[in-house]
């Protein structure tokens, strides 16, 4: 550190310069990212009100277990969205992984580990391609991943003739289906719950690491990020890889939970994006917390479950979901607005365009 400034007592200054934990927590709850937790609690309460048995530890833990795949997908999608991009290829990746497991593992337990590795490599590779095409070839990620979505699914269906051989060895399916039996209160802790916890913890940790902070900064203002020496292309590419890897994990869980079928993973990208947005993460990047994204996924699932229990005609479910999304996001938007009431330039939506582009021309970063 330069001798230019040598403050008398650093730690002391630190104290006075940082708001207390409690205050920061309250401040957080008032942002959309915090509000989603409140929404989640409300929904769960409603479900239990309608159907008390849902509140029992066992069925509750099972609920968490079955929500794990979409929550993990949402966490993956979060990395991409917070960096200002989209990943529409997620659903296709899930499907691909499910089919891969079905066709390559078969009943052969010995194949489980190698195929598992292969799946992760595949996932990472797809993310890499999405990322590189987006950052280096400067194709909007919406388009890149849309193309990937079409191409990937087409390839898988072509390869399998539309239907997988069958379910893979049970040892593999256990990952998504089984759990630790004989736990006191809960009776069972499904593996998906444990995996979700691990993934969430990892993501949370990652977002507090320099990488995570830089990722958000890059989503907020790529130009500035690049000028502070961040390799924006590689940072975003890694976000895409994380997204595909998350999709891979949900794929693995789904093979266990649902079994192998070409329709597994259909529409996952939109569900995941919806969840992330419900979690108060701003499309366009630069704002939002990873755990809120996961919470968003749970809120969405709880909503469906609630509708189920209330006995809403299943064809109406789409409509309710649609309405909820709009309302939730509108509310979030209001909050951000109130937060910066009177600002002429809500900067995360627009930055002075030509300046942005000038420097885009100086250094190869894509300004949104």
């Amino acid at each position: 550190m330069s001798r230019t400034l040598t403050p008398s007592d650093r730690s002391a200054v630190l104290q006075q310069n940082r708001a207390g934990r409690g205050e920061r927590f309250l401040r957080a709850l008032r942002t959309p990212g915090g509000a989603v937790f409140v929404l989640l609690v409300a929904l769960l309460a409603a479900i239990i009100a309608v159907n008390p048995s849902f509140g029992e530890p066992n069925s509750f833990i099972r609920f968490i277990g079955r929500t794990a795949p979409i929550a993990i997908a949402a966490i993956g999608q979060y990395f991409v969205i917070v960096s200002g991009e989209f990943d529409l290829s997620m659903g296709s990746v899930v499907t691909m992984q499910v089919i891969t497991a079905g066709n390559l593992i078969g009943d052969d337990d010995a194949k489980v580990i190698p195929v598992l590795l292969l799946m992760f490599v595949l996932g990472a590779f797809i993310g890499l391609v999405n990322g590189l095409v987006t950052t280096l070839l400067r194709v909007p990620s919406f388009i890149v991943t849309l193309g990937m979505m079409l191409a990937l699914l087409g390839l898988v269906l072509f390869w399998t003739g539309g239907a997988a051989q069958g379910n893979p060895a049970d040892s593999f399916r256990q990952i998504g289906r089984g759990g630790i039996e004989g736990v006191p209160v809960l009776e069972v802790i499904p593996y998906p719950v444990i995996i979700l916890a691990a993934v969430a913890a990892l993501a949370f940790w990652l977002m507090r690491r320099p990488y995570g902070r830089t990722l958000i900064a890059a989503g907020d203002n790529p130009t500035a990020a690049a000028l502070t020496g961040a390799p924006v292309w590689w940072i975003k590419t890694r976000a895409f890889m994380l997204s595909s890897l998350a999709a891979t994990v949900s794929g693995i869980l789904l093979v266990g939970y649902a079994g192998v079928h070409p329709s597994v993973g259909r529409g996952y990208e939109f569900t995941a994006i919806t969840a992330v947005v419900l979690g108060g993460v701003v499309l366009g990047g630069g704002r939002g917390w990873v755990l809120s994204a996961a919470a968003g996924a749970f809120a969405l699932e709880s909503l469906f479950t609630l509708l189920n229990f209330v006995g809403v005609q299943s064809t109406w479910r789409d409509s309710v979901q649609g309405a909820i999304i709009i309302v939730a996001v509108a509310a979030a938007a209001k909050t951000w607005q109130r937060k910066r009431k009177g600002t002429a330039a809500p900067a995360q939506e627009v930055q002075p365009p030509n300046k942005a582009e000038q420097s885009e021309h100086h250094n190869g970063t894509t300004a949104r």
Partner: protein, 350 residues
């Protein structure tokens, strides 16, 4: 559009619109060869009309989508609007040519209303277009699934003719679509709201500071987009002879139209793009489909090709350097001709 070229600068390369049509030309060339190998003629009236037919439905929707994307939003609700419109039209007409006008007006009216809601949600509630229209789409799809079991209503013969007849190889529907495109261009380039659409898409704050009320253009764009989707619905109703709750989603027109628009060189971020380009994009898709069908490509592989073409094509435009500054010196360091920019800068000082 593309005023950037307007300033006669020697450095600005081909506009993306040009490239779109180069790509289209390429597709045409490759197509005619491939089709010939399959023992067919690419340019036979039958084939041309089948290609053009392929353009009209997507064309309508893509035109609307262009406006919405130009203003920096998106519309994912189009497929459902299309279905709804087809149902309303067929339902109201009920195989009676007297009701044609009523059917058309009602269908378009309802579509416009949906567009209005989209616009209000986006501009008023400040909900990202992606979410707003995703939600709206879900709401409508729920309504359709609940209230319509299978095809419904019937369009009278007179109305079916629209989808069936054509001038030579050119279907009436395509002509109508082109007419709409013409109107959209007029709107964009020769009316205030058109300029405002570009302005707001380019930078909402600047637009606001310049005294534009953001709502107006946003809502206009969304309304027009939905109406166009409605037009597509009408065309489908006329081609199918009935309304169907699934025609829209069958075509996957939401993502496809967005792809077509971007393929047409319009900036997904908004503020820059053209209808002409979009038409090019739609044409490319139509030709690709036609070629692959003639070649009897495996249906699953068709999507693979589509996906790759979209990305590759867009990558091609993206490669072009954003000409925003005149080069002063070549690589050899010999000073280059200067662009008006710097030269004028000097005169201003005088």
């Amino acid at each position: 559009m593309n005023k950037t070229r307007g300033d006669g600068s020697i450095f600005s390369r081909l506009s993306s619109t040009h490239i779109v049509y180069l790509v289209a030309l390429l597709t045409l060339a490759v197509g005619s060869v491939l089709v010939a190998t399959a023992g067919r003629s690419f340019f036979s009236p039958g084939n041309i009309s089948s290609i053009l037919t392929g353009t009209s439905v997507l064309g309508f929707i893509a035109i609307g989508q262009t406006l919405v994307i130009l203003i920096g939003s998106l519309d994912l609700s189009v497929p459902y609007v299309t279905s709804l419109a087809s149902l309303i039209a067929a339902g109201v007409m009920a195989n009676n040519s007297a009701n044609v006008l009523a059917g058309v007006l009602l269908a378009l009216g309802v579509s416009a209303l949906i567009g209005l809601f989209n616009g209000l949600i986006v501009s008023g509630l400040k909900v990202h277009g992606f979410i707003a229209t995703l939600g709206m789409g879900l709401i409508i799809s729920g309504y359709l699934a609940t209230n319509f079991k299978g095809s419904f209503g019937q369009t009278p013969f007179s109305f079916r003719l629209v989808g069936a007849t054509g001038l030579g190889p050119v279907p009436i529907s395509t002509l109508i679509m082109l007419a709409c495109a013409g109107l959209a261009m007029l709107l964009l380039h020769r009316t205030r709201v058109g300029h405002q659409i570009y302005a707001v898409g380019g930078n909402p704050n600047v637009a606001r500071m310049s005294g534009i009320r953001i709502q107006t253009p946003v809502i206009t764009a969304h309304v027009i987009c939905s109406v166009m989707a409605g037009m597509a619905g009408l065309l489908l109703a006329s081609r199918l002879g009935v309304g169907s709750p699934t025609v829209g989603s069958q075509g996957g027109y939401d993502l496809l139209s967005i792809a077509a628009v971007v393929l047409g060189g319009t900036l997904l971020a908004g503020g820059k793009g053209s209808i002409t380009g979009t038409l090019g994009g739609v044409l490319i898709f139509a030709m690709m489909d036609n070629i692959m069908s003639v070649m009897q490509v495996n249906p699953f592989l068709k999507d693979v090709v589509r996906g790759i073409v979209i990305v590759v094509a867009v990558a091609v435009y993206a490669r072009r350097r954003i000409v925003n500054r005149p080069l002063r010196f070549g690589h050899d360091g010999h000073s280059r001709q200067e662009m008006p920019g710097t030269e004028e800068a000097r005169e201003v000082r005088a």
